[in-house]
Symmetry: C3
Subunit: 387 residues, 3 copies
């Protein structure tokens, strides 16, 4: 299908971008990458669930425990199959409109209930996407090539044995890149200066950081995971000077809250195709991961993962209890709710793409630029949702 | 008035359409054709009613029993006259803003209440459209040429003496062509397989039809009415093989409901400028007609007409009673309500025009293609709403 | 920042405009002019208030009694400062996101709370706009040049000593030019023919005016104020023939209401950058002024000012009482509410800019054309909101 020349991104903006054009183009995310979507528990046997990813309408189902994901759009007239689900056999779904019937496994048009003699049968296939489960999350490979190993799109440590994961998914009305840059940006901790988490968990957070004037060391570093993924570390917190006092005209006007001595957020890194690791967080014994999953051009799924290594037979249940009792309110809400409104307040400036040119970044944003370049060089394709 | 080059339909789509470009262009319907609009009973003497047709705002009035239709937009500043109706003489309407006064009969600017000396008076005219009543429906000739006889835009039999008509108008949020193709498409009966009408009226409906493999006969046929209109008949039901069982992987997974032996929907035909005839329907003694009237690019009036030949002095009242008591619920709602959501579920795929290229039609759609070609060749113009 | 070629106004329309292109371009108003905004009483010491002007988001504050207006958009990431106000010193405002801190007086980036060592500090400035108070209104100079004296953008008499002003601000969902032309247009009095004000204040209003057939005198005249502003007077009321009877087909169909003998609205003039003077109105002892302040392309602030010369120590309080007790209901609502719906009913025709070409003006609109030409020639720039 030819693409209309009506572009997804303003071409005048793209022409002015130097060094990270691919990222500027990726308004709907990247093609040929794994993205987390629903929770495993949300996809029950034989009960298809519709959702949106990279601007596409998808439908996922569980058959004999295994997951299958297809495009939620009949080949014939383009209607969403999910408008009225009709599954007449375990391994197929039929369109409510003319009975075009597709196999979940390969998308093949295997029957047409209104015309069993149609020559279309067996010669057409609906787009399918590989799906896989890990740590209670359903990952979908939004692509056309032979799927890469899931590990290549994971942040380091996420798939570690005995690491328990509590995912919490929210829709944020901002482009996924606004989400990623909000999370990775070290100095955005300024918006968390009054977060309940700080006192509530006896932690301590500076107001910001300044690069070390006596050092020429870069403030970021690109690394690979064992799984083969690539990401960038923000080293400002490590190599810079933390500030616990904010001054205006040389007078201290604001001090950081000292909730206690717990050291958190020592290492912050952002990985392809858009997942943040904060280690440790929100507690010395925990690691925080968050994905920014493109739903459409103007919204993303903020998939917030509290994780902890817990052993023993009841480890999952134990951590689930601890999360519900303590962390969900204190940090998922008490800390990260501020990031949600911050992203939504940033979106209008970037919505027409011109914000990428009008913004004025400062020293602490070095890691943001590093991320944009990395993402432009190391993605496996730009998602365009068939446009 | 020059047309802006901002086109109503994506030119890149039009360039790719072969054989039925005119239909692809007719997003707002056709120019110089008769369309049904309001019910006669809705237009009372001296009480103008505003409505929308082909993307234009119109205003219709009844004077001494006769109907007059004008554009609902003052020539001066383009305001809708209907925003505040001011009629100071039986045969005129005055604009609430500056008192520009137009004659219903010819649209002529006959007076300006704020400046009786204006040179504009008598030299300008508001656009008028011929209007005519038939069988309780108000027809408007949306055009600029000498109006053709109404019969040229009617389906055969509609104007038959003693044929009683019960019109039922609904707004459907889909382009009028989505409506027409939904109604004409034989195999869409699949969505009606559980309709209350089937058991409720002891009828029987197959799940679908297959072309007869041993026949080379075309599955459609173009015909003319005595009145001079042209339409296409879907012969799939006649020449094809009805299927009462639907199979997946060779196993029967769904059987059609046998409500009884009543034979319905034997002949289905679609006529210019967009009106369907189903004969007989929903009962052997009745004929169903439905018009798809363009309101704007994204919605149409679904004018549903139950008809029956009834003689005698109280024929109209008798059929009205029968319709209210039985048919309105059982078929207008119990059958055609499904078509409404089906059309609205189809609309998004075609909304940006690219659906016309992305769709994948099958054998049973032969009549749809025939209709598109016929409509492209035999329309009297494309409606563009002055753009 | 380069401007995208996506134009604010349809270039095909601009190419067809003869003699007043600048006005057709001024969809967001004019640059380098003074506009009234909030009431003085709405801007309290140290309590910034956000508002919109010419498509820009602005923020205004009062410091030691003086007003300061800045762009409500952080230089760094373009977020609105007003989303979460953080002022750590009397003369600065800090962005809630990364602590970028600006001086109200000159917009200079004087500190960054998250990185006091940033080289950006002192080298960047947020856009500021001069603000000034007069007669209880806050005026903002929406421009980039050395501000002109406020008097150059005032209608004559507004700043007269002892003239008391009662401002009343409403949002109208129509472009500011639709507002200005509605107010200036003499014959629009037709919509006021039933206004409560006429009987309520024993005044008398004709239905309209006709140019004097025996006179060749122009129906408008351009004049300057002592302050240096320029405006156009509509002389139709003065030189034309008032009509108290409206006729259709030579028969009187409507008579003007004679509420009494009070003569009002003798002189009507429209001044840059878009402010109307009606003298006297609504009472022989009063003068009415109204500004049409562009908020964005599709709405304006209708700032309605009842004024009267009253002397003595309690003059302001006395007039305020008189206004609340009598005028606010009888004329602000009882007369001008009709102008609000008239403007909103006119907006759709002009929204895509083509209305400027499709309209058909008549003799009484001579002053409207004069205004358009004057505004095109004498503006100090076109507001484009950085696009």
């Amino acid at each position: 299908m030819n693409t209309p020349t009506v572009p997804l991104v303003d071409p005048q903006v793209l022409d002015r971008i130097r060094g990270w054009r691919g990222y500027a183009e990726a308004k709907l995310g990247f093609r040929n990458h794994w993205y987390p979507t629903l929770n495993s528990s949300e996809v029950a046997e034989g009960q298809p669930v519709p959702f949106q990813l990279g601007g596409e309408k998808l439908l996922i189902n569980r058959i004999d425990g295994k997951l299958y994901c297809i495009k939620d759009q009949c080949l014939h007239r383009g209607v969403p199959l999910s408008r009225k689900l009709e599954c007449y056999s375990k391994d197929t779904i039929s369109c409510w409109y003319h009975g075009w019937t597709y196999q979940w496994a390969d998308g093949k048009l295997c029957d047409i209930l209104t015309d069993p003699s149609s020559k279309m049968i067996g010669t057409r296939s609906l787009k399918t996407y590989p799906a896989q489960e890990l740590k209670g999350l359903v990952f979908v490979f939004l692509g056309d090539i032979e799927p890469t190993p899931l590990a290549r799109d994971l942040p380091p440590g996420f798939d570690e044995a005995d690491r328990r994961v509590q995912p919490f998914r929210r829709v944020v009305n901002a482009n996924w890149r606004i989400g990623a840059e909000n999370g990775f940006d070290t100095t955005h901790i300024f918006i968390h200066k009054d977060s309940r988490l700080i006192r509530g968990n006896q932690t301590m957070l500076p107001l910001g950081f300044a690069p070390n004037p006596n050092s020429k060391e870069p403030l970021f570093e690109t690394r690979h995971t064992e799984g083969g993924n690539i990401g960038v570390f923000d080293l400002l917190a490590e190599r810079g000077v933390p500030h616990f006092e904010g001054s205006v005209h040389g007078e201290v006007v604001r001090r950081a809250i000292h909730g206690g001595d717990k050291h958190i957020a020592g290492q912050i890194s952002l990985w392809m195709p858009g997942v943040l690791k904060v280690d440790p967080f929100p507690d010395p014994a925990m690691i925080h991961f968050e994905w920014y999953v493109p739903r459409d051009a103007d919204s993303h799924w903020y998939i917030h993962c509290a994780t902890k290594v817990v052993e023993g037979p009841n480890a999952d249940a134990e951590f689930a209890e601890e999360y519900e009792a303590l962390w969900k309110d204190l940090y998922a809400h008490g800390f990260n709710d501020d990031d949600i409104w911050a992203r939504e307040a940033t979106q209008p400036f970037y919505q027409d793409d011109w914000g990428w040119l009008k913004e004025q970044l400062f020293e602490a944003d070095a890691c943001i630029m590093a991320w944009r370049k990395l993402a432009s060089e190391h993605n496996r394709g730009i998602q365009t949702a068939g446009r």
